[in-house]
């Protein structure tokens, strides 16, 4: 692992019974970099995300994380309180379905403010101000701050989830199909938003997607997975313009040209 890597995984292996979900997977992520993990359903993308973020324990292999002070942590050997604290502050997780992450009975402001309160913010006015600021950043009208998420559209829910995740200024965000289940014009707007936020705030991200267009738009580097193995990895444009592995070639050629 080099001096400044943010996250580094080596030889991750995990089987669900006879099904190999991850086979000897290596991955590295540098600060401010977006890494896309692509592949078809069942190729192990989401499993890899869960293992990298410490939510799932691999059968072998290790994941290292470098904190802001430069200390290295073995993610799976960390005590639970430390890991949960990391998930609340330095890390963020954006789910495919925003309803899994949001509290639907709590107002938009409460949803965005929850991570602040979990970190010990005890000033109502400041929490609310911060929440309104973040709603603006994700292009939600400030006067929706007291509305319940169930009155929001799918695209707005996803943007609300992003605001809720970014409010603590995480250095690393895990995204699981952030544009899945949205129609094309909403997807485009959301991608634009994610791209500008990530570059402006200098956030590193691991992005799982089956949509090569999403990967091309957002990611600096790309990893192609098939049956738990990384078959090809490299700079996004390089891999997508000149795919070497036959499975990558198949993926690239199966994208519909509008």
């Amino acid at each position: 692992m080099s001096e400044d890597t943010l996250l580094s995984a080596s030889r991750l292996t995990l089987r669900f019974g006879a099904v190999p979900a991850l086979v000897e997977v290596d991955a590295e992520l540098w600060p401010g970099e977006v890494l896309a993990v692509v592949g078809e359903s069942g190729s192990g993308k989401t499993t890899l995300l869960n293992v990298l973020s410490g939510r799932l324990r691999p059968q072998s292999g290790v994941v290292w994380y470098r904190d802001p002070e430069g200390r290295l942590h073995d993610v799976h050997a960390m005590p639970l309180p430390a890991l949960r604290a990391l998930h609340r502050s330095d890390w963020g997780f954006v789910h495919q379905n925003p309803r899994e992450n949001l509290r639907l009975g709590v107002t938009a402001g409460g949803n965005v403010g929850e991570r602040l309160m979990a970190q010990g913010s005890r000033h109502y006015g400041r929490i609310r101000e911060e929440a309104i600021g973040w709603l603006r950043q994700v292009e939600i009208d400030a006067d929706r701050v007291d509305d319940l998420p169930r009155t929001f559209s799918g695209g707005m829910l996803q943007r609300l989830q992003i605001a809720r995740t970014l409010v603590t200024h995480p250095r690393l965000v895990f995204m699981d199909e952030p544009t899945g289940g949205l129609d094309v014009s909403v997807q485009a707007r959301l991608l634009d938003l994610i791209r500008s936020l990530v570059s402006r705030l200098g956030i590193a991200a691991v992005l799982v997607t089956h949509d090569l267009a999403v990967a091309r738009l957002l990611a600096h580097r790309i990893m192609v997975m098939q049956r738990g193995r990384v078959v090809e990895a490299g700079l996004t444009d390089q891999v997508l313009d000149d795919p070497r592995h036959e499975y990558t070639q198949l993926l690239v050629s199966s994208v519909l040209q509008a």
Partner: protein, 287 residues
Amino acid sequence: MNTGYNFAYLDEQTKRMVRRAILKAVAIPGHQVPFGSREMPLPYGWGTGGIQLTASIIGPDDVLKVIDQGADDTTNAVSIRRFFARTAGVAPTTRTGDASIIQTRHRIPEKPLREDQIIVYQVPQPEPLSRLEPSRAETRRMHALSEYGLMHVKLYEDITRFGHVAISYDYPVMVNHRYLMAPSPIPAFDNPKLHMMPALQLFGAGREKRIYAVPPWTDVRSLDFDDHPFRAARAPHSCGLCGATDGYLDEVVVDDRGGRLFVCSDTDHCETRRAAGHTGADALAAE
């Protein structure tokens, strides 16, 4: 005294088990300790937890006071007092100052308690996070890791919707800067009395099988925001019988023409004041 039962109804092994739970609860203020709650001769919700605690700590020389909503003369209080008079033969009292053990539901007496007294609360729901997080496994983890942001989300929501924290009873508290605790359904008005109380406070939840405690002189803070500090709300009236302006009041409907009478909910407090010559505006009409 009825001699057909063991002293104070419970058998000695059960009392020992409950006492062990009490000792553990006192050692970890605010932490909910599981215990083997027994079937008692009264229904769940009527104070089975409190009655087991009282049965385990009571001795022949104790003086017992039982209150329900502050009153000594309501069904629940009368039944439990008679229960211990029959099974333990202890002397009952209605005077707060004379009691060595006070079992209570929904109130803390107005008269400050002393170091030689124990107050036993009847608790329907010991888990302060129960309305917010349905999984008990998860709430236990939240207690273990001291992750109480969710409770503040609830307070945030209340201020957003109502302009103030709209919890009028069972107002959550932090005990000894560590555990979030449900103070049982006492009015938020009574919360400040929990803080640095000289008496030992025991909490028993019979159906939920949990015991917890606040040792004497322990820091107990009601949750709030810096810019929305905790306020102990009380009806803006004086007691109609004794004229008290400091106690917690019950609102009593006295006729079908909109008549209202505000009286102290703590009957002992009210009687003591009236015996000392205080009278309220409605004292004559009430007689």
